[in-house]
Structures are given as C-alpha cells and as structure tokens.
Amino acid sequence: MALFEGLADRLQNAFKKLKGKGKLDESDVSEAMREVRMALLEADVNFKVVKDFVNKVKEKSIGKEVLESLTPGQQVIKIVNDELTELMGGAQAKINLAPKPPTVVMLVGLQGAGKTTTVGKLANLLRKQGRRPLLVAGDIYRPAAIKQLEVLGRQLDIPVFAMGDKQSPVDIAKGALESAQSKGLDLVIIDTAGRLHINEELMDELKNIKAAVNPHEILLVVDAMTGQDAVTVADSFNKELEIDGVILTKLDGDTRGGAALSVKAVTGKPIKFAGMGEKLDALEPFHPDRMASRILGMGDVLSLIEKAQANIDQEQAEKLQKKLRTADFNLEDFLDQMQQMKKLGPLEQILGMIPGLGGKKLKELKDQIDEKEMAHIEAIIKSMTTEERRNPEIIKGSRRKRIAQGSGTKVQDVNKLLKQFEQTREMFKQFAGMEKKMKKGGGLKLPFFK
C-alpha cells in the first residue's frame, strides 16, 4: 500500500473495475464496496460510520435502476458522492449571533486540538465581518496559555480579557462578559482549558462556565488528524455540553480527514470552520459540499476562486484571466503571476484545489515546485533581458550561462526554470479548457467519467 494514496485514488481504483462493465451484478457491487470500506477506514473514518455508510450505498446500488442502467459504474459513483455529501452535512452553517449583543462563543476541545490559536483566528475572521471581539483567557491550567492568548491579541490588535491563573474560569467568563458590555464589544470568545473527555472535574468546569454565561455558540475544536477516537470525543462533548458546531483544525496537512465524517455523523452538528494553516488568517468557513468533492478528488475550484477574489485586485485579476484563457503568456507574466500566487497562500494548497490534480499528479507537481525555489526563480528571471523574458525561446546556451551567473545559480537551474515555465503553460491550458467545459456543460465532470 502506498502511504499517500488518497481516498480519491482508492475510490477511483475501486470503480475502474465497474467502469468498463456493461451490466453489474450484486457481486460486482460488493467488490467495489469492499474497496470503498477499505478506503474510508484508511482515511480514519470511524468503523461504525463506515459500516453504515457502505450498507446504505450498497442498498441503493443494487437497486434495479442502477443495475439495468447503461452506465452502472457512474451510477454507483454518483450514489457514493451524494451520500458522502449528505454525511458531511447540508449547506454551510453560520455562527449564531445574539439578538442582543454581546454574542458569546465558547471553544472547547481536547488538549492540543488548537483551541487557543483558533480563538485568535476566529476573532480575526469575525472582525472582518464587522464584529468587535474580546478574547477571554479561560485556560488557567496549561503553562503560558494565558500569555499565548495575550500575544495573539497583540498580534491581531484585539483586546484580551485575563484575570491570571488564580481566579476560577467561571469568574473569568463572567468578568469578561461585563467587560465586553462596558466597552461596547459585541463578541466574546472564550478559550477554555484542553481536556481529556474522561476528566470529569474539568468537564464539570465547562458545564459551570456554560451555566454562568449561557453561550450562544459552543464550538468543539477537533484535530482533523484524529483517528477512530474522534467519535468518542465528539459524542462525549456533545452529550455533556450540547455543542452547536465543530471547528476542524490542521486540515492543511495530508490527513485524509475522515474525522470530519465521523464527527458529523455522531453528533449531527455542523462543521462550521476549518483551520487551513499556521497564519492567523488561515481559518475558513467550512463547505461540506466542497470538502466532499475534495475528498473525492474533484478539486475545489470554488475555494480557489474565492481566495483569488479576496487577494487579487480586480484589474490584475482580469489581466490574469485573459492570459489564462489564451495561455499566451511569457516569463514576465510568469514572474507577475508568481507574485500573485504568493498572495493566495502556500502553493501546495492552491494546487490541491485544482480538479484533476488529486493524488499522484498533485504529488508529482508538488515535488517539482518548491516554495523556497520561488526566490531563486525570481532571481533568474530578473537576470534576463526584457527580450528574453518576452521570448524565452531565444534563451540558448550562452544566454543561459550568463543568466546563471547573473542570478548566482547554475545553468541547470536556468534549464529547470525554462522547463517549469513550459509546464506551467500547460497547466494554464488545462485551466482554460476547464473554464470552457464549465460554461458549456454547467458544472464539472467527475474525474472518473473521463
């Protein structure tokens, strides 16, 4: 088993067998379901959730209309996709705002899930939407947790309410509420101590905070890399505190994120936000439909477009779009785009959003493009003459040597860059083709249908 073979690859493999077949019988479906089961289990989806999911898909798949359809493989894939989307939750859920401010949000979760950082990120995100947040340092146990929140507050220029580690968290929460009211702040986000859910003492403390300040939202922070235990965690927090939603953190790693499915299934509560990186702006609204399609290797074009809109100014965006459509661009544009891309965030994240670039293909591309290399590339391009940048074809042996010397790199690096440039051109051609398809067909095709 390859380590990084993603869920999408597994499902695609599972359905390759079904694809060519004219007609399916029950054993064909069972065979595919076994692969689906394996894939989901390897993705850390909880055992029970997998069992129910597979049974449900199987039941629907051996129905008459599927088996007798001309394209049974596609039908089964559609069912898997639909069920997965349903399991991930319906439309995107928002934060409950209090009719009378301040809105009180309380974050709870296990140790190390990322609560304190998420408090900062959430405040930052909601401030962009016009809220005036107050951060509350309610974790009085972990060494330096209060300091951590204070530093975050300073970095974000958002006020932090702390009373040291001698007061009870209940008193701190109450004090914070009064403080917010007197300062006219309309959003109070309470950090709480991390805990193991079996720890009754701390769980009681959370219940007491809840009773004292009556939060409008209790959000459970869950590490996306969590294994089978995710259901136990989510279930016990939900039972004790009746959570309103979930924030999934560390989704920017290579975890297949099965915990998302498990948590949603066991609590029935929506996943509202996803942590996508180290930086304080790396918290995004969670889109179940997009997540499902991402798991299935269908890419996440919508997120990519949204990101681009938020980070690139309109004029430049139009220019970029034109270039993309015609795939007619030179090294000067390449440099320009590289700088634009930087604004979008880590490259691997962007690449992961492009449909058809799942699994192995993505890995190959990632291996070719290294974030750190970008600086080198910039130096190389800047060592070229304008003419060379506009017509990279003219860069032959001696010019390559000169450019390498000028940029403090080797000729091989220059060669590599020119090759990469060609590849990028190809990538944009793919973009352009995709755009046409979307316009024509209204929506993307599943990659398995190719």
């Binding site: 390897e42 296990l110 140790q111 951590q148 859910h197 965690v233 790693g253 029935g268 180290e278």
Partner: protein, 302 residues
C-alpha cells in the same frame, strides 16, 4: 435523522471498554470461527491499528492457531498480544545516552505535547542523576518559550532561549555551545510544531539538525517524534516525513490517558521500523514512562 440515531446507538455500544469487549468476545464462545476473527479485526481497527496491519495481525493469529492446534477461543488474546509485542520489540533499544554530552531533539506536529514531554523528560533524566539543559527552539508559537520555562522551573533545569521569531538553528547553536561549556550531560532541544507536509518548515528542521551535527559530531543522538495517541493513520505519514527530514530515532506516544489506544504505532514500527521509546500517561511531572510493549498490548486487549 434515522441514520444518525441508529449510528449513535451503535457507537454507544462500541464505546465500551476494550477489556470487556475482548473478554465477551473470547469467553462467550466455544469455538474459534470466522466471525470471531472478524470481530478481532474490528477491535484492532477501532484501536487505530489500521486496516492492513489489522488484517495481517489476524492472519498471523490464524496461522498460529493452526500450527499450535489451538481450540480454546480464550487463547486468541494471548496469541495476538504476543504478535503485537514481537513487532514492537524487534530491534528494541533504550534511549541512547552516551558518555559526555547527549543531544536529544524533539519534533512533531502542532499540539501533540512536545513541550510538556520535554518537561517530563528533563525531570526523568534529572532524577537519573544527569545534568540537563533545555533549548527553547520553538520560536514560532506565541508563548511557547514561556511554557518551556515554566516546565524547566518545575524540573529545576536551565533553559537557553532567544526571542520569539528568532532562528531556531541559532538557538540550537547557542544551546550546544552552552551545553559544552557547562559540562551538561543531556541537552534537549524543543522545536516548533509543524505539519509534516510543509516543505519550508521541514527544511528549517533539517537546518537545526545540521547545525547540531556540525557543532557536535555524532549529535543529535536521539530525535524523538512526539505522537498524539488520538491520531489516526496520518501518524504513519508524520513518522515517514519527519523521519526523512530529521532522522527520527524513536517515538514518544502522548495522551495515552484518554480513551485513545495509539494502535497506529504498530503500523509505524512495521512499516518504518521506528520504535516507541516513551509514553505519556498524564499531566503530572512524573507521567512519562519508558515504553513496555507487553503493557501496551495488554492495554489494547485487557
């Protein structure tokens, strides 16, 4: 919501203790049959052992049962524990403490408990009579340096630190120099939590290691990957990529005091041959233990 409620019901049943489960599994039956093996596999999967490893373990048990002509279902548990122990103990070695200065680098993803583990490890080494120095190499996360200092005070050891945002390799450099000058036995270097997929951060880690190697040939003597026991199959990827970047020599498995079993370390040992050296079982200073595969296997199965 019929689907969810049904699911919930099922989950409540499975959240019962493993001990109970395996006991009812093996004592409530008279024969070893296919269903029994299947249930065994399910229990392993639910302990995060992973599908492939679980299937192979069960296969190994099946083979032993045939070879030894076992007929009592109660013996399955012992055989399985034996198998797990054998995997985990193969090529086992204790913490590599050398004469003179031993350098231990501690790495891992965010939130697994690196700083806490370092505090406990410092305490453990100190109680063994060694002079310990810590390096506050997590210069990224807000207040990570303060957190390490609090632990160092508890353990009664010194810390070398720079300001937040400083180059961690520079911290490591200073720490090695200080350790040499102060005739320290053990230097433990903290590093910032990082997702193993972030190329630039893994490069940073390589640099820290290079600097230590350059300043003290043969060091670091141990690179411990701290792993959260609640982590699922992604832990294998963590071990692989941290191994490639930093040459991981052992695992410290934390948060075993929860309900998670950390079964994924079996896959890590099998696939990457990285052994578990320590386990963290609580929040206290003394809650770090040397790993014992027998205890671990027993905790999985009662």
């Amino acid at each position: 919501m019929g689907f969810f409620s049904k699911l919930k019901e099922g989950l409540t049943k499975t959240s019962q203790n493993f001990v109970e489960k395996i006991e009812t599994l093996v004592t409530g039956r008279k024969h070893i049959d296919e269903e029994l093996y299947e249930e065994l596999e399910e229990i392993l999967i639910q302990a995060d052992v992973g599908v492939n490893t679980s299937m192979e373990l069960v296969e190994a048990v099946r083979k032993k049962v045939r070879e030894r002509k076992v007929e009592d279902p109660a013996e399955l548990k012992d055989i399985l524990q034996e198998e797990i122990s054998a995997i985990l103990d193969e090529g086992k070695s204790p913490l590599n403490l050398i004469e003179g200065l031993t350098v231990i680098v501690v790495v891992g993803v965010n939130g697994v408990g690196k700083t806490t583990t370092i505090g406990k490890l410092a305490n453990w080494l100190k109680e063994e009579g060694r002079k310990v120095l810590l390096a506050a190499g997590d210069t990224f996360r807000a207040a990570a340096i303060d957190q390490l200092e609090i632990w160092s005070n508890r353990a009664g050891v010194e810390v070398i630190k720079h300001n937040e945002g400083a180059d961690p390799a520079a911290v490591a450099y200073d720490a090695v120099q200080a350790a040499k000058a102060r005739k320290v036995d053990c230097l433990i270097v903290d590093t910032a939590g990082r997702l193993h997929t972030k190329t630039n951060l893994m490069e940073e880690l390589k640099k820290v290691k290079r600097v230590i190697e350059r300043e003290l040939p043969g060091a670091p003597h141990e690179v411990l990957l701290v792993l959260d026991a609640t982590t699922g199959q992604n832990a294998v990827s963590q071990a692989k990529l941290f191994g490639e970047a930093a040459g991981v020599t052992g695992i410290a498995l934390t948060k075993l005091d929860g309900t998670a079993k950390g079964g994924v370390v079996i896959s890590i040992k099998r696939e990457l041959n990285v052994p578990v050296k320590f386990i963290g079982v609580g929040e206290g200073m003394d809650d770090l233990r040397e790993f014992d595969s027998r205890d671990f296997a027993q905790a999985l199965f009662g």
